[in-house]
């Protein structure tokens, strides 16, 4: 269904993404891991067409989406939602409006200027917010919400697009462990219930292991690993991150340990 073929992006002489190729069929939950600067973000941004590719093809349902221009490109963007590390909401506007921005592609500029939205769409936005457990925040300004709530608003905006693919660029990198778990659970639930394809850049291994059906490892712009979470052994992880024997996975883990002994002493 989605075929990424030899996609390359060069910034000057440096290749951010170098001949990346992979295919995803059906609705998979794919995690992309790698250290900072490995080209994960550039790869996702090329899929959404926020960044142009230097070479290669991304074929989705028989169309090379890298060749789309103008209105066709924007129509593709509306089918391929993106979630950002910094949420990228409009901070001064209310939560429901931010969700409604998901359908901007089929609204005219004039209707946007006068803030006219069909009632059915407003109700759908509120239903989505309710589904993500933030219906009460609908009339608040987006900037008044916590990071975890803002990221859920961003997911709601993505759902409003009714997209075929959801791309998530480090969705939990600026959240605390508790909110990170809520956001990742939400993404996984969308995948399980709606059957949408999700491709997420993740910066921690345990998140990738826990939530993804498939993990793609990138190093210096190249894809160096493509397999199931089970195949992602510590030595493979060392290769992906270019780390030596001192690499300790649990040191960077963001999982909340089930420390029952501590809880028991506190409760006793």
């Amino acid at each position: 269904m989605l075929h990424v073929q030899n996609v390359t992006r060069r910034f000057g002489a440096k290749s951010a993404v170098d001949q990346a190729s992979f295919s995803v069929s059906g609705s998979a939950f794919v995690g992309v891991i790698g250290r900072s600067g490995a080209g994960k973000s550039t790869l996702l941004r090329m899929m959404n067409r926020l960044t142009d590719a230097t070479a290669g093809e991304i074929v989705f349902e028989g169309r090379n989406i890298l060749a789309l221009q103008g209105a066709d490109k924007r129509a593709w963007q509306s089918q391929c939602a993106m979630i950002f590390q910094q949420f990228n909401l409009v901070p001064r506007m209310d939560v429901a409006s931010n969700v409604l921005h998901g359908i901007l592609n089929r609204r005219s500029t004039l209707a946007t200027m006068f803030n006219v939205w069909p009632e059915a769409d407003i109700l759908r936005a509120l239903t989505i917010l309710d589904r993500l457990g933030i219906a009460e925040q609908a009339p608040l300004r987006a900037e008044a919400l916590s990071g975890g709530q803002q990221q859920r608003v961003a997911i709601a905006r993505a759902l409003m697009q009714d997209p075929k693919i959801i791309l998530a660029d480090e969705p939990i990198a600026s959240l605390d462990p508790m909110n990170a778990q809520v956001v990742m659970d939400t993404l996984r639930r969308i995948h399980d219930e709606d059957g949408r394809m999700v491709i997420a850049n993740l910066h921690t291994l345990d998140t990738a292991r826990r939530y993804c059906d498939r993990v793609i490892g990138m190093r210096d712009g190249r894809i160096v690993f493509d397999g199931t979470p089970d195949q992602l052994t510590t030595s493979v992880a060392r290769d992906i991150y270019g780390a030596d024997d001192s690499f300790n996975e649990s040191a960077t883990s963001t999982a909340i340990p089930a420390d029952t002994a501590y809880a028991e002493t506190m409760l006793a």
Partner: protein, 295 residues
């Protein structure tokens, strides 16, 4: 004698145990620079005076005592006819309103053009990035043309009246405000714009939702400041043949007609209006940029 190796001419080294020495020396140095600068300025002024004097049509020194002649004549005549002044002030209110209208319409039109030019010439927002220098130079050109010069040209083309005045001020305003608008937009956070772009939003939608809410307070503040300036400009344009209070003032000010009470009346209402506009726009601008709590 190890010191000699580093400083062949032994001088007093800054005493690190007394840091105020270094500071005192710095202050002294700054004072010397300041004095040199002032001396140079005075020298240029003195040498330039002769050149300016010989090129003057009249004689500067002999003309100097006459400086107060016209104002004192106006004031004494105005004082003699002071009973007329309140009535005349009321009489000139319609032309004052015309002047204010010229300023308001031209600020609005110029502001709209400025907003478009600014967005077209801001890095990261411009829909045609390669044309940014073209739009920037256009703004420079519009800004470089003084409004009085544009007005004089337009009078020949369109005749007198408020329309050429509006056009002249609007042209200059769009250049002047465009630069300020563009600078404000350059500092805007691009994350919302990127988020909107990822949903497939058009350029207009991205700007309207992502940029305008951020820059609105700054832009409104610049617009108000420009309105203040344009009220004065539109009064001045009356002198070169456009409508409004300036035209009345020019007629009244011609020598030897005994209309100096009108000059006084016009000047009073103009002064009062400008004070009111300046004060209220100051207050509004502080509120806009710093929020209601500080204003």
């Amino acid at each position: 004698m190890a010191d000699l190796a580093f400083a062949p001419t032994p001088e007093k080294r800054p005493d690190l145990s007394q840091p105020q020495h270094a500071y005192v020396r710095m202050v002294r140095q700054k004072r010397v620079y300041g004095a040199n600068l002032l001396g140079g300025f005075l020298l240029l002024l003195a040498t330039g005076f002769h050149v300016a004097e010989t090129r003057n049509a009249g004689d500067f020194l002999s003309g100097l005592p006459m400086l107060g002649a016209f104002p004192s004549e106006v004031l004494s005549e105005g004082w003699a006819n002071r009973a007329n002044v309140p009535g005349l002030a009321l009489h000139f209110i319609p032309s004052l309103i015309e002047t204010l209208n010229i300023a308001a319409v031209s600020t609005l039109l110029g502001g709209i053009c400025a907003a478009l030019l600014a967005l077209l010439s801001t890095r990261g927002l411009a829909p045609f990035p390669r044309l940014i220098p073209v739009f920037r130079r256009t703004m420079d050109a519009l800004r470089a043309l003084p409004d009085v010069v544009i007005a004089l040209v337009l009078i020949y083309v369109l005749g007198g009246g408020p329309i050429p005045a509006v056009m002249a001020i609007a042209i200059h305003t769009s250049g002047a405000l465009g630069k300020l608008f563009s600078e404000a937009a350059e500092n805007a956070d691009l994350k919302p714009v990127e988020g909107l772009a990822s949903t497939g939003a058009r350029w207009g939608q991205r700007i309207w939702l992502g940029i305008l809410p951020q820059v609105a307070p700054n832009w409104a503040s610049y617009l108000l400041m420009r309105f203040e300036i344009n009220v004065r400009v539109s009064a001045i344009l009356g002198f070169v043949g456009q409508g409004g209070i300036g035209a009345d003032m020019k007629v009244a000010m011609q020598w030897g007609q005994g209309k100096y009470d009108e000059v006084v009346a016009i000047f009073l209402i103009l002064f009062f209006t400008i004070v009111v506009i300046d004060r209220s726009s100051d207050w509004l601008r502080t509120r806009l940029t710093k929020g209601a709590h500080h204003g």
